[in-house]
Amino acid sequence: MLRLDGVWKTYRLGAFGTRELTAVRDVSMEVRAGEVVSLIGESGSGKTTIGRMVLGLASPTRGSITFDDVPVGGLRGRALRGYHRQVQGVFQDPFSTFNPVFKADRVFALVRDGFFPSVPAIKWRRRVEAALEGVRLEPADVLDKYPHQLSGGQLQRMLIARALLLDIRLLVADEIISMLDASTRIDVLNLLGDLKTKGLGVLFVTHDLALGTYISDRTVILRAGEVVESGPTDEVFARPQHEYTRNLLAAVPHLHTRWNEPVK
């Protein structure tokens, strides 16, 4: 479904772009339908950049990103809108994904404005309610409220519901749980797990290895923009090949096991 082939991203900085910063180097990977691929790496390793390129919010400097064999980079106007019908994203911080000035359900109105201007209001409302129920939210609880009146978990679920309004096939989830409390995290993860079983492809970006493993089928480990290791999740975690991956895994705090004890 989604393919990245030798993708590079270089940011130009400074006066008239005199300095360069390569955020992503030669990354190739694939996300298939019904598959969760987690993208793991420390801060600044280029995860978000990849996510944004996939979403068409940024274009790769080199290499190609294709969705169903159609290059994403060249999409403009109507075609881009068509693409966004199928591919959507949810971001790290639910509080900053909602414009704090407006009520939270504005995100649904925006989808209607952008994609279904002809759907009548009543019908649309029903579809929104259905989508909310799909992410196990009580419509009455979340509609007509301001973002700060809702919990992070509720907000993230609303965003997923928003994506679902569009019959998406691929979801880019960029650290969608790192800002959430431990107890709410798991709800969101479970939701993603459910959607996966319904055939949704998910690019799951995270720096938290414990969470990476919970729902993902395959794992790509990124360091300074480069892929250092990738493969089926179990394999990567059980038998890390790269030194960097091993260090990373060793530093993860485990419940029930102290750092200096062997992992149970």
Binding site: F16, R52, N99, V101, F102, L110, G114, F115
Partner: protein
């Protein structure tokens, strides 16, 4: 380091400082709540409104123009002529009320135009970034270091400023740079907020993103910016009028001071001719600044006094 400059406005009065705290919905009621209890906001607003009403209403209660010779020359304030008369016997109060009117017009138009240009440039530069940003930034910097009054004087010498709206136009054309800088910085930080990405994922075009997503988040900031621009435009207009570079076919507070000085009011002891116009400018601009600080306290919980 650019960001540090945004604390100080072009007028020396404090500009709205610190990153924007967007005002969310129910917090709007909060804002009103605090605004109504903030002495600075209420006091400032009352002063401004009082002058506004005076300027709007007073000219309707007389049947002669502000430049007509209606009374005995050079008479001190009395029941008939509240602020006395000029050496020609013009009613100073009437001129004063009319002058306030043009003061508000200059403030609104000049401040509004400067705000508009500053915001447009700031928004575009901040949102688009890259080369566009570089170029706009350069433009901003150039206009920023050109001393506005000197430029206006030059312009006047060549073009002639003949009406209040034209004066406002020129003032607006040269007082926007600090706004552009500030708005650019704010936009820059808002642009990376994820709701902007979400809007783009919802098929919104850049202009719509700026207008419908970014600008509403800065509304309080923009409002305060406008207040400062208003004050700045009023002062600038008064200065121009005073040195005789303003429109001459209307009555303005600066022009009143100009006439008073020209006709030797200082030496002839006609204090009522030059004290009220300056006092009105000071009061209006001062009230605006005070209001601005009050609003800053309202919008920025950190500054709120408990």
């Amino acid at each position: 380091m650019t960001d540090t400059t945004e604390h100080v406005s072009a007028t020396g009065a404090p500009a709205p400082a610190e990153p924007v705290t967007p005002v969310a919905g129910p917090r709007r009621r909060d804002v009103l709540h605090f605004a109504l209890r903030n002495r600075k906001v209420v006091g400032g607003t009352v002063v401004i409104l009082a002058f506004l009403v005076l300027g709007l209403v007073a000219p309707f209660f007389t049947d002669h123009g502000p430049n007509e010779y209606v009374g005995p020359p050079s008479s001190p304030p009395s029941a008939d002529f509240w602020f006395g008369t000029t050496t020609f016997g013009q009613d100073v109060f009437l001129q004063f009320a009319n002058g306030i009117r043009s003061t508000f017009v200059v403030g609104l138009l000049g401040g509004g135009l400067a705000g508009l240009i500053g915001m447009t440039i700031g928004f575009v530069a901040g949102y688009r970034g890259g080369l566009v940003d570089e170029l706009l930034n350069m433009l901003t910097n150039i206009v920023l270091v050109l001393p506005a009054l000197a430029v206006l004087i030059i312009l006047h010498a060549y073009v002639g400023i003949t009406s209040v709206p034209m004066q406002a136009l020129f003032i607006g054309l040269f007082s926007w740079p600090w706004v552009a800088r500030a708005v650019r910085a704010q936009t820059f930080s808002l642009r990376s907020r994820e709701f902007v990405d979400l809007a783009r994922l919802s098929g919104m075009r850049p202009l719509a993103v700026i207008r419908r997503e970014i600008a509403p988040n800065m509304s309080s900031y923009l409002f305060m910016t406008f207040i400062l621009l208003f004050g700045g435009a009023v002062l600038m207009a008064a200065t121009l009028d005073f040195i005789g570079l303003g429109p001459t076919d209307v009555v303005s507070l600066g022009l009143m001071m100009n006439s008073a000085v020209h006709w030797s009011a200082l030496h002839l002891g006609l204090w009522w001719w030059f004290v009220p116009p300056g006092a009105a400018i000071t009061a209006i601009v001062g009230a605006l600044y005070v209001m601005n600080v009050g609003l800053d306290e309202v919008f920025n919980p950190k500054l709120r006094e408990m």
